[in-house]
């Protein structure tokens, strides 16, 4: 490969490394890898500037399959690694790949701190609501009562709602998409890439071995349109196979209304992705679909805010201090302010 590949028109294949992909057959990770490789040629970014960093878990093997720069780091800590990378070289296009265990359990601390600092990183969290690589224990995203190898009588912990947690941690871009909806996923990933700051994308991802069908309610056509609420900025919250249902706000309480039965689309909640309060309400729609009645599960960009990134603030601070004080020559640093001479 020569240097001028950077200006040539690239294809998805150019982003595929020579390593065999070793996820289980039918794993949702394949679909995500395919979408990421597909959209990359559309970005105005040089291939050599792209860095993928991952933690540990099935999802985190992703790094080895992208023909870009990459580091497969340690469990839960990719968020800290990308922070150091971005602080050092803000020209790099940094992507972070993680799973629900990696992000919410062992890496929970780094997850919230990355979001509040707002380093410019695309953060893809593959959520399969299970520990795959350790062969099937429940995760912090698993539903309460889940029977797994480590919880034969059912898990006792309340799960995290990752989008809600991300908003609570002052995330500036929070979105959710699905492994089995290529079009939606591509659109969300592109929006994430446009965002300057930590763009957190939760991707519902099927684990065919240890948690098969966890999200079929949302991904399979029999139920998808009734159970998914696809939100778009400026548009009313409408769902249902025939777009016949909507959500309106009764104060702070979301209420499902029947558009076919006389409710007006004009009364519906209009999605405003710049409104943190409403985004929090939206992310809070997290009902168990087995409940009756229940709200649909939202997908799309819940929230987007333009806030200075940590690395921009860092560089601005360096420049401001430099302009005010000037850099100190090494000899001056070595001598300090006060010296004495022995003749």
């Amino acid at each position: 490969m020569s240097a001028d590949t950077t200006t040539a028109k690239l294809t998805a294949k150019d982003f595929s490394s020579d390593q065999d992909v070793k996820w289980c057959p039918g794993c949702g990770d394949y679909a995500i890898l395919a979408q990421v490789q597909r959209i990359f040629p559309e970005f105005d970014v040089k291939k050599e500037d792209v860095v993928f960093v991952s933690g540990i878990g099935c999802s985190s093997r992703f790094t080895y399959y992208m023909d870009t720069y990459g580091m497969h780091s340690i469990h839960g800590r990719a968020a800290a690694v990308v922070s150091g990378i971005r602080a050092t070289n803000p020209n790099l296009d940094v992507w972070m790949i993680s799973g629900d265990g990696d992000s919410l359990s062992i890496g929970g601390n780094h997850f919230i701190h990355l979001l509040r600092r707002n380093f410019n990183v695309k953060y893809l969290m593959f959520n399969n609501q299970i520990y795959g690589l350790t062969k099937g224990q429940y995760s912090p995203a698993s539903e309460k009562g889940k029977n797994t190898k480590s919880t034969p009588f059912g898990s006792l912990d309340e799960p995290f709602n990752p989008a809600e947690l991300a908003l609570g941690a002052k995330g500036t871009f929070v979105a959710r998409t699905l492994d089995r909806d290529a079009k939606h996923q591509q659109a969300i990933l592109k929006r994430a890439h446009e965002h300057k700051g930590t763009a957190f994308v939760e991707i519902y991802q099927n684990c065919p071995v240890f948690n098969d069908g966890a999200f079929f309610t949302y991904t399979e056509k029999e139920t998808k349109m009734e159970e998914c609420l696809f939100v778009e900025h400026g548009k009313p919250l409408v769902f249902g196979a025939n777009s016949d249902k909507g959500i309106k706000l009764d104060g702070l309480k979301p209420v499902i209304v029947d558009l076919a039965g006389g409710a007006s689309v004009n009364d519906l909640w209009i999605h405003d992705e710049t409104d943190r309060m409403k985004a929090t309400l939206l992310a809070g729609l997290f009902d168990n679909p087995a409940m009756n009645p229940h709200n649909p599960r939202p997908f799309g960009v819940f929230y987007k805010e333009n806030r200075a990134t940590y690395e921009d603030d860092l560089i601005n601070q360096i420049n401001a201090v430099k302009a005010k004080k000037g850099s100190t020559p090494l000899d001056r640093i070595l001598s300090g302010d006060k010296t004495w001479t022995i003749a």
């Binding site: 490969m1 020569s2 240097a3 590949t5 950077t6 490394s17 390593q19 040089k46 291939k47 050599e48 500037d49 860095v51 993928f52 960093v53 790094t63 080895y64 992208m66 023909d67 720069y69 990459g70 580091m71 497969h72 780091s73 340690i74 469990h75 800590r77 968020a79 800290a80 690694v81 922070s83 150091g84 990378i85 602080a87 050092t88 070289n89 020209n91 790099l92 601390n109 780094h110 701190h113 860092l314 360096i318 201090v321 430099k322 004080k325 000037g326 850099s327 100190t328 020559p329 090494l330 640093i333 070595l334 001598s335 300090g336 006060k338 010296t339 004495w340 001479t341 022995i342 003749a343």
Partner: protein, 626 residues
């Protein structure tokens, strides 16, 4: 020789001494550290050699007046070469009963004790837990000492009564009065401290004036009050000609990092989480924004090292600083840096352990952790600093090895030298050893794929900055296939890589200095082998013993992994080897295992450095044993 000076009909004895040890003891809020530092800096300006030992409680403001709340500052200064802060005190300044109670046992018989009598009322005596009715100033407790009883509080109030300051501010100037008095007693100029006060309080004129007035009042009190009949005269030390500054270990470490990064042409990135006694490195480096130094106060110890790994990966010099508990948390990430073979400097300012242990006290018990404390075969070079100023050399070397050999490096200092200070004949930037930092931009395998783990003759792999066209590749924590760096679970490859990573570290021995005998001669009857901060105490002991006619030698290790190539040979030349350490014999175990030398271990684990006298006694005991 002592002389008599006559002044206004008063006879003042002038004592000449080679060195004097002063200990300042008072409440955390009494400003003892500041007083000690000012006295130290002034002595340094007089050209005296010195060594300091600040000692503070782990609590920020332990209850005032209690022994737990005593903050101490010890300085040993003199006209001879000084390598330790001293075993016992010639002068103790006790600002309150607790200060006296905690430090009296270390005052030399016949030494001077200066007390602030206001700190010896019933309340203070109770707080210091003196028995009911005890009166240490008058009950004979101090009969072996010369005691100067001064009601500092009252005198300062009197001196500053017209300044318009409140009682609280006035009382805060007590330490300046004491400092002024000591300047008189040791015949030192007040100029340096007046300059300091002017700079520090320039914007608050009444505070500045009050402090200067308190300082001068203390000096004048000594000069005019007839009860004080002794002054001390200490000549300048015969130190090597040159320009000096005063420096603490943590400060020297910080400067070493800045210099190494700049010499290597790399940006310096520090990922750190505050921890005693390492935080001062973070504080110091954070001042250098204008030099492009990036400090990042991470959310925890693990994020601190991982951000530094990210920074190094992106092309900077990544550094992380901590102390034992934090180093334990960084273990897994160090393994990542070992297997990905990227430069990283990990600094452990050791403190007493295990667990939270003794946060403000010193210890050398992390040696095994530094050399072996990671899972798997994960070799890392380990360097130790031996004195406050030596922290500069050690930090610089740690960076050089990390960059030139593509490896994480552990630097060990400890609380004693990190907070202690000494004069430093600092180098000029031009004289610093060059550091070769190379990023490749062309493939190392023309016609084939770039090989990120193809090694040079030093077994070092190439460094590539992300952003370099055509060299895209992946690294990570899974075992690497030789040369390609691809993930490999092949058993023969794993063994090969384990050996390669070890051989790479072993080869660093080619670029480090050989071990030498610092005092005494090769093949002496006994060699005292030390590492790290025990250097000053060992050196003083060995020089004393040689002067007393004993056949003793001192070898000091600065590189703990790999060790100097000649060390085994050198040690085998001595009849006996004794290894003093502030742990339970960690280096001794390694030396015995590595070189089959029957070294004796001498240990002290009290959170305190070795005293010269105890070392001498023990060396003699081993020397004279059959």
């Amino acid at each position: 020789m002592d002389t008599i000076e006559k002044k206004a009909g008063r006879q003042i004895e002038v004592k000449h001494a080679e060195n004097v040890v002063i200990r300042f003891s008072g409440d955390s809020g009494d400003g003892m550290q500041l007083t000690g530092t000012q006295f130290t800096d002034t002595s340094a300006f007089f050209g005296q050699d010195l060594s300091t030992f600040p000692e503070f409680p782990a609590e920020i403001r332990a209850p005032a007046g209690t022994v737990a709340g005593v903050s101490g500052f010890q300085v040993n200064f003199g006209s001879k070469e000084i390598y330790t802060p001293g075993d016992e005190y010639d002068v103790l300044v006790a600002m309150n009963s607790a200060g006296l109670k905690s430090d009296l046992h270390k005052v030399k018989k016949g030494g001077i004790i200066l007390v602030n009598t206001a700190g010896f009322d019933k309340k203070n005596l109770n707080l210091a837990k003196y028995p009911e009715g005890a009166d240490p100033l008058n009950d004979g407790t101090l009969s072996d000492y010369t005691v100067y009883k001064i009601d500092v509080t009252k005198l300062v109030k009197e001196a500053l009564k017209d300044t318009g300051l409140g009682m609280k501010e006035i009382e805060r100037s007590k330490n300046m009065f004491v400092l002024g008095f000591l300047f008189w007693m040791f015949d030192k100029s007040m100029d340096y401290t007046i300059g300091f006060i002017t700079e520090k309080f320039g914007k608050k004129k009444e505070i500045m004036d009050a402090n200067i007035k308190a300082l001068k009042s203390g000096y004048n009190y000594g000069d005019t009050t007839e009860i004080f009949t002794t002054r001390w005269k200490i000549d300048s030390a015969k130190m090597a000609p040159g320009v000096y500054r005063q420096i603490t270990g943590n400060h020297a470490t910080s400067i070493g990092l800045i210099c190494a990064a700049e010499k290597a042409g790399l940006e310096l990135f520090l990922g750190s989480y505050p921890i005693t006694p390492a935080s001062d490195i973070l504080h110091e480096l954070s001042k250098y924004r204008a030099n492009g130094v990036k400090t990042f106060q991470a959310e925890d110890e693990i994020a601190a090292i991982c951000s530094a790994i990210g920074a190094s990966y992106a092309g900077a010099l990544g550094v992380t600083t901590s102390s034992g508990p934090g180093i334990a948390l960084k273990g897994e990430a160090m393994g990542l840096a070992v297997i990905t073979e990227i430069p990283l400097v990990v600094i452990n300012v050791q403190r007493g352990g295990p667990s939270t242990g003794l946060p403000t006290k010193t210890e050398q018990a992390d040696l095994m952790q530094a050399i072996y404390g990671r899972h798997g075969e994960a070799p890392m070079p380990v360097i130790a600093a031996s004195s406050p100023a030596d922290c500069f050399r050690a930090a610089y070397e740690a960076c050089r090895i990390a960059i030139e050999h593509m490896t994480p490096v552990m630097l060990l200092t400890d609380g004693y030298i990190a907070n202690g200070s000494e004069p430093w004949k600092f180098p000029s930037a031009a004289d610093l050893k060059p550091i070769k930092s190379v990023f490749i931009t062309e493939t190392n395998n023309p016609g084939g794929k770039f090989l990120p783990y193809r090694r040079d003759e030093q077994l070092v792999r190439p460094r590539v900055k992300p952003g370099t066209p055509g060299l895209e590749h992946r690294i990570g924590g899974l075992e690497k296939q030789d040369e390609t760096g691809n993930v490999s679970y092949d058993s023969a490859n794993h063994e090969k890589m384990v050996h390669l990573r070890q051989a790479k570290i072993d080869k660093i021995a080619d670029s480090i200095p050989l071990a030498t005998v610092e005092s005494g001669k090769e093949k002496a009857k006994i060699c005292v082998l030390g590492w790290g901060s025990t250097e000053g105490a060992i050196k003083t002991s060995v020089l004393d013993l040689i002067a007393e006619g004993h056949d003793v030698a001192h070898v000091h290790l600065r590189y703990l992994n790999p060790m100097p190539k000649n060390l085994g040979e050198l040690l085998k030349g001595f009849d006996k080897v004794i290894i003093p350490e502030m742990n339970l014999g960690q280096l001794a175990m390694i030396i015995r295992g590595k070189y089959l030398v029957p070294a004796e271990s001498y240990t002290k684990v009290q959170g305190l450095p070795f005293a010269v006298d105890e070392l001498k006694t023990r060396i003699l005991q081993t020397l004279n044993s059959k």
